[in-house]
Amino acid sequence: MNNIKEPQQESEIQETEPEVWELRLYIAGQTARSDAALANLKRICEEHLAGKYRIEVIDLLKNPQIARDHQILATPTVIRKLPEPLKKTIGDLSQTERVLVGLDLRPLKKE
């Protein structure tokens, strides 16, 4: 669905007006999986969005109300809050390719 045009537009925006990516990582307690997810997310962001991203980790065990408010079902979940539109991935982010597609991060360097 999301064809090639859209990301190109976004990358143009990025070039002209670099903005901060706001990413939220929802976890359920400090588990091996949530640690892995955070590590993977940081790695990918460093690789593709160095210096223009912000990661917010939300522990649902501490704030259970948020699970409902933000429609979280699976953990770990990453939501790209900015730039719009909202994007959502679930899983420990070990499959980098899928993370790039899910969060719409074009691997610009490799292209």
Partner: protein, 569 residues
């Protein structure tokens, strides 16, 4: 939750959680397994969501058990709207913290799976929802939606297993709904694999253009339950499931007699119908079945008892009008709320639904007498076995609640009157037969009691008349000419009267003849006497004359002697 002990003597007590849904608790012998999940499987539009929601609403309003509804398919606003039409105010219940609806939105196209994950988010949400209102009941509707949203079935299945286990440890009574599967599985995704304590299937079938919803308890661990398919009804008050109330035939019996509304019929039965008995009035068209039923209804209302009149042939107004012409005015009782006439076309829904409707009305109206006029029309809706099973259940239900039931039944001309198509006679306590007696170009009505359990009853055919004052039962003519009714009876009676008069006249005449004869004889005697008297007189005269003649002769002789100067001797 109520505790249910069975009489097997085992110490283990299965906790039951009453659903509050009419009939369902009877089938499940008290409710769903408490603290365990129950699977409700059914096709689209079979009423899964409704049963699940009613379970929560009833729990919140009747059993003080708050509930959580996790909706995977419908948004909260839609649910609120849909259930408002059933009289459930979800918003109000939510405001009272008795209900919590959580809509879980999942769209496959929006989610990218990037590796290993679990559904801890769902657990947290559920846990939070349960704890925030202290919920005892949970509904997951329809959790199978997850399968279409998430691709990793391995993870999903493991998580579902964990979820149901978690629900058990949480101690909530849960309903999990699932789409009915095509193959050998009950649900499309085989959810029954995880929820094994209680499984209920719902079905919405169309037979002969009539759709009926049915419910069946497929399994229920550790509890007895009805295994049949039970029809259920969705109406403005929610769901009603119709159970067989008493399979054991152990209902109370009454020796109280209640009047039939026709005085002579009471005497024919030796005092009226037994309270709580079932009565069948059968007869061909136009023999007065409805009239008899209406008389019974009126007699019931006159005593101040309630009567439910289920009409399958005529509209209420029509019945009232028609009955008024023969002096049975039902309208005041309708106004007083003692009589409720409910008319329905037999074909508007299936037999089962009719049964559920009747069941519901009887439960709501609580009549002491129920009239079904006629049961025949229901036959058009179902097969013979279906009709019989339905009537069995209806009669059972009525007997269990000590309701006297009167059914009318149209028999078809030609067929032996003693045969009813449904073979319901074995269920009937008192059976009155109305029949045409066709003599001399006339059709008259005859009534007789074919059977009446546990009471002496007349064996005679009576003539049944409809007058301006209601029903009149008179003795039919029974004489040397046979049983006669109507004009034939009147003619025969007239003939008898004529004969009687003639005999009387004959006697009079004979009496007069004898008198005349006596008089004649007397006259004769008088004449003879007169004759005799005349002879006597004659004789007396003759002897007198003789004496005189002798005297004269003596005188003459003396004179001669004097003259002759004869010697005096």
């Amino acid at each position: 939750m109520t505790e249910v002990t069975d009489n097997t003597g085992f110490p283990e007590v299965l906790q039951k959680c009453p659903t509050g849904i009419r009939g369902l608790d009877d089938i499940t012998d008290g409710g769903l397994p408490g603290g365990r999940p129950t699977l409700i499987a059914g096709g689209p539009g079979s009423g899964k969501t409704l049963i699940a929601m009613e379970f929560l609403v009833r729990g919140a309003t009747q059993y003080d058990e708050p509930g959580v509804f996790i909706a995977f398919e419908e948004r909260e606003e839609d649910l609120v709207k849909n259930f408002a039409s059933l009289g459930f105010d979800l918003k109000e219940l939510e405001a009272q913290k008795k209900l919590l609806v959580d809509y879980i939105h999942i769209e496959r196209s929006e989610i990218e799976e990037t590796g290993e994950y679990d559904l801890e988010g769902l657990f947290i949400r559920l846990n939070y929802a349960i704890d925030s209102i202290g919920a005892k009941r949970v509904v997951l509707d329809t959790i199978e939606s997850l399968f279409s949203a998430l691709t990793n079935e391995g993870i999903l299945r493991a998580e579902l297993r964990r979820l149901f286990h978690w629900l058990k440890t949480k101690g909530v009574t849960a309903i999990i709904t699932g789409e009915r599967g095509g193959g050998d599985t009950l649900t499309r995704r085989g959810l029954e694999e995880y929820v094994s304590d209680c499984v209920i299937t719902l079905d919405h079938r169309v037979e002969g253009q009539i759709a009926t919803r049915r419910l069946r308890v497929v399994k229920y661990r550790g509890s007895k339950h009805g295994t049949n398919e039970y029809p259920f009804l969705i109406d403005e008050h929610g769901i009603s499931v119709l159970p067989i109330t008493s399979l054991e035939l152990d209902h109370d019996v009454s020796t109280e007699r209640i009047p039939t509304g026709v005085l002579r019929l009471d005497t024919m039965l030796g005092g009226g119908f037994y309270r709580g008995s079932s009565i069948l009035i059968s007869g061909t068209a136009g023999t007065g079945k409805t009239t008899l039923a209406a008389s019974f209804a009126r007699a019931t209302c006159e005593r101040g008892e309630r009567c439910l009149y289920l009409a399958f042939e005529e509209a209420p107004r029509q019945i009232i009008r028609n009955m008024r012409t023969i002096g049975i005015d039902l309208e005041p009782y309708v106004r007083q709320g003692l009589l409720k006439i409910h008319a329905a076309r037999p074909t508007i829904f299936g037999l089962e639904l009719h049964l559920v409707t009747m069941y519901k009305m009887i439960n709501e109206f609580k009549p002491s007498v129920a009239v079904v006029d006629p049961i025949t029309n229901l036959i058009t809706v179902g097969s013979e076995t279906e009709v019989k099973s339905m009537l069995t259940r209806l009669i059972d239900m009525l007997k269990a609640s000590q309701i006297t039931a009167l059914f009318t039944h149209l028999t078809h001309g030609g067929a032996p009157l003693e045969l009813t198509e449904m073979g319901v006679s074995s269920l009937i306590d008192t059976w009155a037969l109305l029949r045409d007696i066709e003599i001399g170009g006339e059709r008259n009505r005859g009534l007789y009691i074919l059977k009446s359990r546990g009471m002496e009853h007349s064996n005679q055919i009576r003539e049944f008349l409809m007058t301006g004052q209601g029903i009149d039962i008179i003795d039919a003519y029974t004489g040397p000419a046979g049983v006669l009714t109507g004009t034939a009876r009147v003619v025969q009676e007239a003939k008898d009267r004529v004969l009687e008069v003639e005999r009387k006249e004959e006697i009079e005449r004979k009496k007069r003849d004898l008198e005349r004869q006596r008089k004649a004889v007397e006259a004769q005697i008088a004449a003879l006497r007169a004759e005799y008297e005349a002879g006597e007189e004659k004789f007396r005269k003759f002897t007198q004359e003789e004496e005189r003649r002798k005297e004269i002769q003596e005188e003459v002789r003396k004179e001669i002697a004097r003259i002759r100067k004869a010697d005096v001797p």
